[in-house]
């Protein structure tokens, strides 16, 4: 039976890999530039912030929650990071402060959820709005830039031809795959998402598990904010507009269930992220108006949810049949 379920999981992966390959092949035929190193570089870098945040979002969604505050955190931390550097703080120290602040926001999200017993959608929406307001208030709507020469030359480095955000993403992705499969605390996230009550009765401290996922999600959003500054050499309130929807979509396309906690995987999210990145790139390359991107994203979200619900229904039916035949 386990093998069967593993197959089901693999089926989802296979469908994704198949789609990705198809788009890849079609685009390579259609456009001579698609397979150039330059374009692949663009493709990857364009979706890298979403990719980083999708790792944290996956854990949040598996725990049965959601975190839409990331689109407020990303620019907020970018602005704090930029401001600190502009007043002469060392970039490393400024990064650290940025990460600590974002972690605190994650803590705040979870405390509101826990103390007020509010749905995480509401809590993180409030955080998102508040931070967006703060971003405008702090910057007055202007873009922060003009960082020191040493900073800009440091961030322009590309070890082995890959940009710094990509290196960080690779490290994080490997870490998250390993943690989500083998780390006890991460496995408990699946428990809590699958059955709150069972986890509590097993003596798990549920709130600390929730705290972990919201803090991780917020820190990754903060990290994405800092990295955005290094990429654009500026910080703006307009960073990360609507990014939460793209991230959630990537996670959902990767097979993590938005409706039932406890189901999903980081590996799926990696594939979902790759899929989204390629699709966005394909839009640009094929010259279709980018206005249609979100139309497509929305459609994909529905397809993804239908797919995972369909797989669920089939699974359930085979289980029922099995138990009858037993």
């Amino acid at each position: 039976m386990l093998r069967k379920i593993k197959n089901k999981m693999n089926l989802h992966y296979l469908v994704l890999i198949f789609c990705i390959t198809c788009i890849f092949v079609i685009m390579s035929i259609q456009s001579p530039f698609f397979l150039t190193w330059n374009n692949i570089d663009v493709l990857v870098n364009n979706f890298i912030m979403e990719a980083i945040m999708a790792l944290g979002m996956t854990m949040v969604i598996i725990s049965g929650g959601i975190d839409i505050s990331i689109s407020g955190i990303l620019p907020f931390i970018a602005i704090i990071f930029a401001k600190l550097m502009l007043i002469g703080v060392n970039p490393w120290l400024a990064s650290l402060i940025g990460l600590v602040v974002s972690g605190t926001i994650g803590l705040f999200n979870n405390s509101l959820r826990h103390v007020l017993r509010l749905h995480p959608m509401i809590v993180t929406m409030a955080t998102q709005l508040t931070l967006k307001g703060l971003n405008l208030a702090i910057t007055g709507g202007s873009v922060l830039s003009k960082f020191s020469r040493s900073f800009t030359s440091f961030t322009a480095q590309r070890p082995l031809g890959l940009s710094i955000p990509i290196w960080i993403y690779i490290l994080l992705a490997v870490l998250f795959v390993a943690l989500s499969k083998h780390n006890r605390r991460f496995i408990h996230v699946f428990f809590v998402g699958g059955s709150n009550e069972a986890s509590m009765l097993s003596g798990m401290k549920i709130n600390s598990i929730f705290r972990m996922v919201y803090v991780i999600s917020a820190i990754l959003a903060g990290l994405a904010g800092i990295l955005s500054v290094t990429v654009y050499n500026s910080a703006s309130y307009s960073f990360g507009q609507g990014v939460e929807m793209k991230v959630i979509t990537a996670v959902a396309i990767g097979g993590t269930s938005l409706t039932h906690g406890g189901e999903g995987s980081i590996t799926g999210t990696l594939l979902g992220t790759l899929f989204m990145a390629i699709v966005y790139n394909a839009f640009v390359m094929s010259g279709i108006s980018t206005y249609y991107q979100d139309v497509f994203t929305g459609g994909m979200l529905i397809v993804a949810v239908l797919l995972s619900e369909g797989a669920r229904a089939i699974n359930k039916r085979t289980n029922q049949a099995k138990s009858l035949i037993k």
Partner: protein, 501 residues
């Protein structure tokens, strides 16, 4: 001095006194049952022992020492484990992960040591003589097997006091038998087993001592040798229940309401032919997986019929959907009343009229709330739904038995001709059970045909006019309920098929 002593326990929720001055003592190596009607305070008492609730006053002594348990973790440390009524397993995780939830063996960087986890799990199962693959997902197991996983999960934590809260309510008889032999084995290992059940035959069968609670008060304890069902019941209800079941049908030859000919659904049931007459209760008995519920689903239009014929009130019919079936006068009371039958977050009145809203629409298309109110009140009174002023209470606040009555009321308002009830008294206490039985009998006397699916043999024997026995998707036989015994029916139900767990 017992292993576990309760002294003068008091507990109230808001103004509601749930336990009043309860003192009890338990010994190692005994199976001690706690019985009482719903609301008698059994579950609350167990939750106090298990550290989930704290008593307002009074004390719990373990081995003569005062135990101060603030949460379930403290209780586990003290060697007290609860096997819960609702399974507390995460069904998307494996058996091993569930058994060692929160206690997984981990290496230096917090990574789980899978090999050891699986080995440990297998060892724990070996202790009770069960072989199981530790990496199987819990949701793929039968309910009986899940229950065993739950028990092993509790046992694996150095537990010497085990509390079972309605452990067999979801099990078929053979699964329950397996569990009892497990309980006896554990008792022989010197553990204290505290057993809570509504099924008095089970209680009498396995208990060394039985203590009775009524309305939050301790009534008394029966020692081994004094344990008899009638005695327990009279202690529970405070009076003698001379006859547990209502009399049989007075008119056995009513018109045929429903007839099925060779009804089949692939993988679910085959060639089932039954008749139901108006005025009778046809009991359908079978072990879990016999295809009873599936058969009912198809009759009710909730699932397809692959072949065969259904005749309802002399007409050939195929119900395409439950709506269709309800419109013609067939009703189905689900065994899973909370999930499939009731809107637990709505008030009683709304639930009662939920399936017959059409009747309450006036000419301008609006609902007539006054009329709904009146009808609801009438049913609350007629079915003795408690508390009597409950029509604007939320259904989730009612006890199991009263919820079941609300569900019955909901269907009766649609004026059905045929009522299919699936496990009508699961998890319902003795008093409410008797009331539900007499309601069913009254409905039959009023001319309804009733199909009652049940896993409880006493209920099948006590209430049915005829008994159909199913096994493995097939109808084995239909017997008139004269001088039937539990053994006769069980033999039919096993029908020489080897039923493996």
């Amino acid at each position: 001095m017992g292993l576990l002593e309760l002294k003068n326990i008091n507990k109230s929720f808001a103004d509601n006194l749930v336990l009043s001055d309860v003192s009890l003592s338990f010994h190692a190596g005994e199976i001690h049952s706690i019985v009482g009607e719903n609301g008698a305070g059994k579950s609350t008492l167990m939750k106090i022992i298990g550290g989930i609730y704290r008593a307002d006053s009074g004390a719990v002594y373990l081995n003569g020492k005062l135990a101060n348990m603030r949460n379930p973790i403290d209780a586990y440390r003290a060697g007290i484990g609860i096997v819960h009524q609702e399974l507390s397993l995460a069904d998307n995780m494996t058996v091993a992960q569930n058994v060692f939830a929160n206690r997984e063996p981990i290496g230096p960087i917090g990574f789980v040591r899978w090999k050891k986890l699986y080995q440990d799990t297998e060892n724990e199962f070996q202790k009770i003589g069960v072989a199981i693959k530790p990496d199987v997902l819990v949701k793929t197991l039968s309910i009986g097997m899940q229950q065993i996983v739950e028990i092993v999960k509790v046992l694996s934590q150095n537990i010497n006091i085990l509390i079972f809260d309605e452990p067999t309510s979801a099990l078929s008889d053979s699964e329950a038998q397996n569990m009892f032999s497990l309980l006896v084995k554990l008792k022989e290992q010197g553990k204290l087993i505290i057993f809570i059940s509504h099924k008095l035959n089970e209680v009498c069968h396995i208990s060394d001592r039985v203590s009775v609670l009524r309305d939050g008060k301790y009534i008394g304890t029966l020692e081994h040798g004094e344990i008899e069902e009638d005695r327990i019941i009279s202690m529970m209800v405070g009076r003698d229940l001379s006859n547990l079941y209502p009399p049989k049908s007075s008119k056995l030859n009513g018109d045929i309401v429903l007839e099925t000919k060779n009804l089949s659904r692939v993988d679910k049931f085959h060639d089932v032919s039954i008749t139901v007459r108006s005025g009778e209760i046809l009991g359908i008995f079978g072990l879990v997986g016999a295809g009873r519920t599936e058969f009912a689903y198809s009759l009710f239009g909730a699932d397809r019929i692959d072949s065969g014929k259904v005749t309802f009130e002399g007409e050939d019919v195929t119900f395409k959907s439950p709506t269709d079936a309800i419109a013609k006068g067939v009703c189905y009371l689900s065994e899973d009343r909370k999930r499939l039958g009731l809107f637990v977050n709505m008030i009683v009145a709304n639930n009662i009229v939920a399936s017959s809203l059409k009747k309450f629409i006036n000419r301008s298309g609006f609902l007539e709330f006054d009329k709904m109110q009146v009808v609801s009140l009438e049913y609350v009174e007629r079915l003795n739904i408690q508390p009597a002023n409950c029509i604007s209470n939320y259904v989730s606040n009612l006890s199991g038995g009263n919820q079941q009555k609300v569900l019955l009321a909901k269907w009766i308002t649609t004026n059905p001709k045929l009522l299919i009830v699936d496990e009508p008294t699961r998890g319902v206490d003795v008093g409410a059970k008797a009331k539900i039985h007499s309601i069913l009998r009254d409905l039959a006397e009023a001319g309804l045909g009733i199909i009652m699916i049940s896993s409880e043999l006493p209920e099948i024997l006590g209430l049915s006019d005829r008994v159909a026995v199913m096994n493995n998707g097939k109808l084995i036989t239909v017997l008139d309920n004269n001088d039937l015994s539990e053994e006769m029916i069980l033999n039919k139900a096993f029908n020489k098929h080897v039923v493996g767990l």
